[in-house]
């Protein structure tokens, strides 16, 4: 699907400004005042709360297969996650996940 140019630039610029805002909000503006612990506690889990939710539908209903469950893609997803979790190495996880995907596609695809 093609992305509208105006929409794209809106997101690029707003995301750039917003990301800078998030990085600057405390170092730049709040100074040395302490933050409420409940806020920090929620901030600790933002990435781990958003990214899995983003990926899950892409794995379960892949667009490339018209949304039906696909064995090579599911296997690649599980291998990538397991390697990332146990070896704590992002690049090795990507490489082994990609190899699983291509192996699976060659076998079943």
């Amino acid at each position: 699907m093609n992305i509208e140019t105006a929409d794209l630039w809106f997101v690029i610029i707003a995301l750039g400004l917003g990301s800078f805002g998030l990085r600057f909000v405390f170092t730049g503006l709040v100074g040395n005042r302490p933050l409420p612990p409940w806020l920090l506690r929620h901030l600790r889990y933002t990435a781990v709360a958003v990214l899995p939710g983003l990926v899950a539908p892409l794995v379960v209903w892949p667009a490339a297969t018209g949304g039906s469950l696909d064995a090579p893609r599911m296997a690649a997803a599980l291998v990538t996650l397991a390697v990332g979790y146990f070896l704590r190495n992002v690049i090795v996880a990507i490489v082994l996940g990609a190899l699983t995907l291509y192996g699976g596609l060659a076998l079943f695809g």
């Binding site: 990301s19 600057f24 405390f26 170092t27 920090l40 901030l43 781990v48 990214l51 899995p52 996940g97």
Partner: protein, 239 residues
Amino acid sequence: MPTQTTKSVYWQGVRDGAPFILVIVPFSLLFGVVATEAGLNVLETMSFSVLVIAGAAQFTALQLLTDGAPTLIALVSALAVNLRMAMYSASLTPWIGEATLGQRAIAAYFTVDQSYACAIVAFEQNPGWSIRQRLAYFFGVVTPICPLWYLFTLIGALVGTSIPQGLALDFALPITFLAMIGPMLRTPAHVLAALVSVVTALVFAFLPYNLGLLVAGVAGMMTGAQAELWLESRKAARQ
């Protein structure tokens, strides 16, 4: 410890940042390629990497825009992925809060996962560093990382169109994200937050405008925070 010069502290930062080149190069290359596949031109792709300078948020925005999600949903979701930057900012404040406003603004722009992770460890190990030395270290870590982030986004964007179809690049993005999620699952609270996020996202996938992702994000954050409190109180009870 003998007194270190600001220059030697800078080079210590460069050395500590250098191993991350192995992560930054393939990641930014992949962003350039995937963005080009999604139809972005070189200027648009580069603007993403220079203005946003945060891989996970860039990939999130790109994926949602490609899915046809409304721009506001794409923006809010990507900003949610970057909320951790506010946490980094808060945690760096006691160490670099005395710097000038301009220095703090530049440091804020370069606050990325790697510069934060190195700096917070080094600052705690070297409480005697002056504010100049702390900034020198921080920008030392950034030196091998951020220029390569821009450069390899550009290379990815330039070679992107020559990548043949049939490479199943539709799945490059899910694999990249999954690889990043693995090492983030440091505690049972992180694992629970991720599980709740997955289940909620799938259950609420019927919601329009990719709103299910925002529901999943909020549910995951609240789960993580509550699980942390519960685990801490259990630990305290046992002692």
